[in-house]
């Protein structure tokens, strides 16, 4: 049984460590904030200029001057600090954020990631994704294992325009978890979603990988 969106977020939350500073992408990654283990302190960065992001506001707390990178209204915390976009990306580019969790259209076995444009379709832009994958210490991808046409999103090489090259450390797909070997030599399958078999993974994965379960 493949992982649901919430399962993916829960699995991704295992990558959090106490004291981490983390940037979460839009969509499933946002849900990771709901699964911080008890007793663990994790500080969320929002690339539009905030460290220490709080939960969504109550209706009477909504402040138009306080949004996250997905343009959603949010709240601040006692430890919050605000800064400019250039200071925010100095923080990201300079390697000061421990972990980013992002969605992807495709990931390749060398850690390449494509998640910003599909040629021929309207392109909205890369936003901060290229900076995040290039700058953050550890890049974790959460995504469907296959696209709508049933084709593997875990590939030998990406076919879509790249967001970054050799930057992904861990792929959490709906079928299992793959480590990208730090030397770029390929993937290691380290976990399966419940009831997912090695045969199913093999049938649905284009990329080469070692099994290390």
């Amino acid at each position: 049984m493949p992982w649901t969106r919430d399962d993916l977020a829960m699995r991704a939350a295992k990558e959090l460590k106490d004291g981490f500073y983390v940037n979460l992408g839009i969509g499933i990654p946002t849900l990771v904030a709901n699964h911080i283990p008890d007793g663990m302190t994790v500080t969320f960065q929002s690339e539009n200029g905030m460290l220490g992001m709080g939960p969504f506001p109550y209706d009477d707390e909504v402040d138009p001057d306080l949004i996250n990178a997905g343009k959603q209204t949010i709240t601040e915390l006692p430890e919050t600090a605000y800064f400019s976009s250039s200071d925010s990306f100095a923080m990201i580019r300079g390697g000061h954020i421990d972990l980013t969790i992002l969605g992807a259209m495709e990931v390749a076995e060398n850690g390449d990631i494509a998640n910003w444009m599909i040629p021929g379709k309207l392109v909205k832009g890369m936003g901060g994704a290229m900076d995040l994958v290039a700058g953050v210490k550890k890049v974790v991808v959460v995504m469907e294992h296959a696209n709508k046409h049933g084709e593997s999103k875990v590939l030998k090489a990406c076919t879509l325009p790249l967001t970054g090259t050799q930057v992904v450390s861990l792929i959490i797909s709906t079928l299992g978890v793959f480590e990208v070997k730090p030397d770029g030599s390929g993937l290691r399958l380290i976990e399966l979603a419940p009831d997912v078999t090695l045969e199913e993974i093999a049938a649905k994965t284009e990329a080469a990988y070692e099994v290390a379960i």
């Binding site: 949004i67 996250n68 605000y82 800064f83 900076d131």
Partner: protein, 243 residues
């Protein structure tokens, strides 16, 4: 010293606009955008504008207002398309578009204001963004050369200003505004409140007055793009109604 304070957005833009000009506009989404100056820029009828702004507003609001009137020739942005008119003009070839990674865009503007004509970044290396740009190795890693950005005019939204143009921004409405204040040949600022000199803590000023040429007090709609809220737990909600 001539006062930096102008009575309204229209007068604050007088003599500063011309067809084919480059304009930087602060804001992230609709948060912290210079609403009053965008409307006044629309009313000048200036055309052929190259607009440098992280986003392109929504239909009819923010920079969307200048798209409806076809005053913008080109956008330099990191993320767009919350905007049907934008989409139509872009797909029909009426509007040019240059995408920059958000951090590269922010740094290009900061560099432009800081007298740095070029810098190297790992962002975008190996992607379309680096095509045609100079690459260089530092300590065995490849970086791409990006250039500083300046504009003929920057329009900026701050929270408070003193009469000398010292600025303070509020929460995430700061975003691109401080860098843009440094990178316009002329910088015009709209604020919610103009306070007397000496009212702001000198240690807490985000943008020193040297960057601010003209200043107005505006009125703000502050439209919200994605109103997301949570519900109070029942007891709490009940307690809330008593207030």
């Amino acid at each position: 010293m001539a006062s930096k304070i102008y009575p309204d957005a229209k007068s604050a833009l007088e003599g500063l606009t011309f067809d084919g000009m480059t304009v930087m506009a602060g804001g992230f989404g609709l948060c912290g955008i210079p609403e009053n100056l965008i409307a006044a820029l629309r009313d000048t009828g200036t055309t052929g504008i190259t607009a440098i702004s992280n986003n392109a507003g929504v239909d009819g609001f923010g920079l969307g207002a200048l798209l409806n009137t076809r005053q913008i020739k080109k956008m330099i942005s990191s993320y767009v398309g919350e905007n049907k008119e934008f989409e139509r003009q872009y797909l029909s070839g009426e509007l040019e578009l240059e995408f920059n990674p958000q951090g590269t865009l922010a740094e290009r503007i900061r560099a432009g204001g800081a007298g740095i004509p070029g810098f190297y970044t790992a962002t975008g290396v190996g992607t379309l963004v680096a095509e045609g740009k100079e690459l260089k190795e530092f300590n065995g890693k490849t970086y791409v050369l990006e250039t500083g950005l300046v504009a003929d005019l920057s329009i900026v939204k701050a929270w408070k200003a003193d009469e000398r143009g010292n600025l303070i921004f509020r929460k995430t409405a700061r975003n691109f505004n401080p860098m843009m204040a440094t990178a316009g040949k002329v910088c015009v600022v709209e604020v919610e409140e103009i306070v007397p000199v000496g009212s702001l803590d000198p240690d807490s000023i985000h943008t020193p007055g040297v960057y601010v040429d003209r200043l107005i007090q505006g009125t703000f709609e502050k439209r919200i793009e994605q109103r997301t809220v949570r519900q109070r737990a029942p007891e709490t909600a009940a307690a809330g109604t008593e207030n």
